[in-house]
């Protein structure tokens, strides 16, 4: 199943390459997209897994997932790869030690400056 990658707001420069949302996350967090993330659904159920891709609706694909507290929630014991509809996600938690906030801030400033120029 191929989910279309999301786009970054605004237009790209002439001859510039398409930048996907995932690439943006990669650049700003400085971590590989295959690093772990945690997703808490609105029903307060936590799914940990490796982030595979995100699209423009923030639909998320996770591989190698684990449900926290499988005793209480055995509903997904046989599921290893899943697609989560963006509308039901409460938040995505990236592991703190994988997040370079300095890099993130710089990337945000750079993007803001670029948007200002246009």
């Amino acid at each position: 199943m191929k989910i279309v990658d999301g786009m970054v707001e605004g237009t790209r420069g002439r001859g510039g390459r398409r930048i996907s949302w995932v690439k943006n996350v990669k650049d700003s967090t400085g971590m590989k997209i295959s690093e772990c993330c945690e997703i808490l659904l609105e029903r307060e159920r936590c799914i940990c897994g490796t982030l595979h891709s995100v699209d423009q609706f923030l639909n998320i694909k996770l591989t190698d997932i684990n449900v926290t507290d499988p005793e209480k929630y055995p509903h997904m014991l046989s599921v290893k790869t899943c697609f989560i509809r963006g509308s039901v996600v409460r938040y995505v938690q990236l592991p703190a030690d994988e997040c370079d906030t300095q890099l993130l801030q710089d990337a945000t400033r750079k993007e803001a400056a670029q948007n200002k120029q246009r």
Partner: protein
């Protein structure tokens, strides 16, 4: 085989025959797994189902080997709560 968790907390398992950009799904040979704390998992045959995308919360790819090895009679769990917006 895929497992769908719907917005109202139901779990439906079936063969994914098709989907579109709104995540409307076509499931063939589907059945619902009804979880309850009082008894084991009850499987209700549904057949061919079209699920509107709005109602879909999660789609999981089911590993057949793991799934066949599960003891559904012995699984006791509260049903999932519906999505709160």
């Amino acid at each position: 085989m895929v497992e769908i968790v719907t917005a109202d907390g139901r779990v439906i398992v079936g063969t994914l025959k098709g989907f579109d950009q709104a995540i409307n799904l076509i499931l063939d040979e589907s059945h619902e797994r009804v979880y309850s704390s009082g008894q084991g998992v009850e499987q209700v045959i549904l057949g061919l189902y079209i699920v509107r995308g709005d109602n879909v919360a999660l789609i999981g790819e089911v590993d057949d080997d793991t799934d066949n090895g599960l003891d559904f009679e012995g699984i006791r769990a509260e049903p999932l709560n519906p999505i709160i917006h």
